[in-house]
């Protein structure tokens, strides 16, 4: 198994006396798209800042490309493109001017500027002062600044923030293309669960500074097996019928939730319920979506109301 591109172990971070990260660990495999999920204030941005050396952790180790961040920070940053929270830009300069600064800081050729701006959809506005850009355009510029050095690892904090649906779709395609065609490893935080579901190969869920889950998207989804959902007029009578059939079920939002039944078992269940005088309105198979999984991870009680 190859060394993870990003490996963090037991990160502890405090703001003053307030602990904000409680020993979190991250394993980002090479070539993966890692969606880092968490509610506002969960610790996503603090984690990203710590991973980049902007905050020194109280405890824990961070290795990128197999190298210790504390010792090889500059060499690591040469191979990394970043977008942290709100994009940084010099408003009085054009998009080209802002990228020229990146070129000078990193010793890059300016030849890459125009293709990169076209890549993020700023080809028509590259000479316009950035202070006249919309929020979405500034976000695209931030992405261009991260992409310009053609990094092996992209660390992006809310890259879809401020983008319209078209922009979100474009950025999604861009990230997928970079990952599939150039093998760029992408670690990004997001609130948009549907986007993570569409792009990520791996997922980490953070809540109140603690990791609640880390693994592949498939592993996360498999945590909640598919189920059969039944809507009836009388859940108490239905539960008694199910008990007689030695089926376990629980009631959530007025519906019965059972482990996924075969077609034959579903047919038998409906017959038994009707025979017991229970009116059956709806029977369907259901696979949890990422949002339900996420909510269950960060709010364990919300799913069993």
């Amino acid at each position: 198994m190859s060394t993870p591109t990003l490996l963090a172990e037991g990160l502890v971070q405090h703001f003053g006396r307030t602990p904000v990260l409680h020993g979190i660990s991250l394993h980002v495999p090479k070539g993966s798209i890692y969606g880092f999920l968490g509610a506002n204030g969960a610790g996503k941005t603090t984690t990203i800042r710590t991973l980049l050396g902007l905050h020194h952790p109280r405890a824990g180790t961070i290795r990128l490309f197999g190298e210790d961040l504390a010792r090889h920070r500059i060499a690591i940053l040469e191979r990394t493109g970043t977008l942290i929270e709100h994009p940084s830009y010099y408003g009085h300069l054009s998009a080209v001017g802002n990228l020229k600064i990146v070129c000078r800081l990193r010793g890059l050729s300016p030849a890459g500027i125009e293709p990169t701006l076209h890549q993020v959809g700023l080809g028509d506005a590259m000479r316009k002062p950035v202070k006249r850009f919309s929020m979405g355009m500034k976000q695209r510029l931030g992405l261009a600044m991260a992409l310009l050095p053609q990094p092996e690892l992209l660390i992006l904090d809310e890259p879809m923030s401020g983008l319209d649906p078209v922009g979100i779709a474009e950025v999604r395609q861009l990230l997928l293309r970079l990952n599939r065609e150039q093998g760029v490893t992408i670690f990004y935080s997001s609130h948009i669960l549907a986007e993570v579901e569409r792009t990520a190969t791996h997922v980490g869920v953070i809540d109140k500074g603690r990791m609640r889950f880390e693994g592949t998207l498939a592993e996360l989804m498999a945590q909640q097996a598919a189920e059969t959902v039944v809507r009836v007029n009388d859940t108490t009578a239905a539960l008694a019928t199910l008990e007689a059939l030695q089926l376990t079920a629980h009631v959530r939002e007025g519906r019965l939730h059972l482990p996924l039944l075969t077609d034959e078992a579903t047919h038998a269940l409906i017959q038994q319920l009707l025979g017991a005088g229970v009116q059956v309105y709806e029977v369907r198979g259901h696979q949890a979506v990422l949002e339900e999984q996420f909510l269950q991870l960060i709010q364990p009680t919300s799913a069993s109301r």
């Binding site: 500059i74 040469e78 990394t80 800081l105």
Partner: protein, 257 residues
């Protein structure tokens, strides 16, 4: 990548960032403003040949640098250092700079060097314009023998002394404006430094107090040397290096906003 290369890269971005900004314009316009005002008053003052004695360049430079040292330079230094650091504060750019493959100290010192070069350029322009306007004054007031005296020694020495005397205030302002976003901090320091500089001149330890140095240098032009001045220019240079080094230490340890 060597530190020198990282420093050079960071320095070159400072030049690019500040093109056509107020930081550069103020460096060009501030001395022009002082010289224009002093030249206008000099025209009247030097109509009377009894208003000077000896080298007229010294008298002219004294007029020029009194106003500059007392008011303009503290404000200019505050404005310059604020504008250079405000570029990063308002652009939300510190965090971006600190995740580039450049040592944090190179970011800090390259900007400080650029600010110092602009300040030096401002002083050089002030000296150059003083010489030019003095010659013009000599043409318009032929009774004043500007052409008979060399301006190099008095103007060079006076300009260098004022520059040296302002170095610690410059360092202080640079560090303050890197630490704080608000313009009121550097302006407050400028006002406080000017007031303290005037009030504490007679204090027995005035030679150790950097706020007094510009005023000491200004009076020195007029031949007034304070008994407690000591080797204040040397102290000033040492303090300036100390302040900038301590400032860098604090800023490196600070969380990038």
């Amino acid at each position: 990548m060597s530190y020198a290369l990282a420093f050079a890269r960071s320095f070159s971005t400072e030049v690019l960032k500040t093109r056509r900004t107020l930081a550069v314009w103020s460096t060009l316009l501030a001395p022009l403003f002082v010289v224009a005002l002093t030249f206008a008053t000099g025209l009247r003052r030097f109509a009377d040949v009894t208003s000077y004695a000896g080298n007229p360049w010294v008298a002219y430079a004294a007029d020029m640098y009194t106003f500059s040292t007392l008011l303009l330079l503290p404000l200019y230094i505050a404005l310059l250092t604020y504008l250079l650091n405000a570029l990063e504060h308002t652009s939300n750019a510190w965090k971006y700079l600190y995740v580039q493959p450049i040592p944090k100290s190179a970011v800090f010192y390259s900007k400080a060097l650029y600010a110092l070069l602009l300040f030096t350029l401002c002083m050089a322009i002030l000296g150059g314009l003083t010489a030019g306007s003095g010659y013009l004054l000599g043409v318009l007031r032929p009774q004043v023998p500007f052409a008979a005296w060399s301006f190099w020694e008095p103007l060079g020495r006076i300009t260098a002394n004022i520059w040296l005397a302002c170095l610690t205030i410059f360092s202080f302002q640079y560090v303050a404006s890197a630490l704080f976003k608000s313009f009121f901090v550097p302006i407050g320091i400028a006002v406080l430094a000017t007031l303290m500089g005037a009030m504490l001149l007679q204090w027995e330890h005035a030679d150790k107090l950097f706020v007094c140095y510009p005023t000491m240098a200004m009076f020195e032009i007029r031949g007034v040397t304070f008994p407690k001045a000591g080797n204040y220019l040397l102290y000033g240079a040492v303090q300036a290096v100390f302040v900038i080094a301590v400032g860098e230490y604090f800023i490196r340890r600070r969380r990038a906003l």
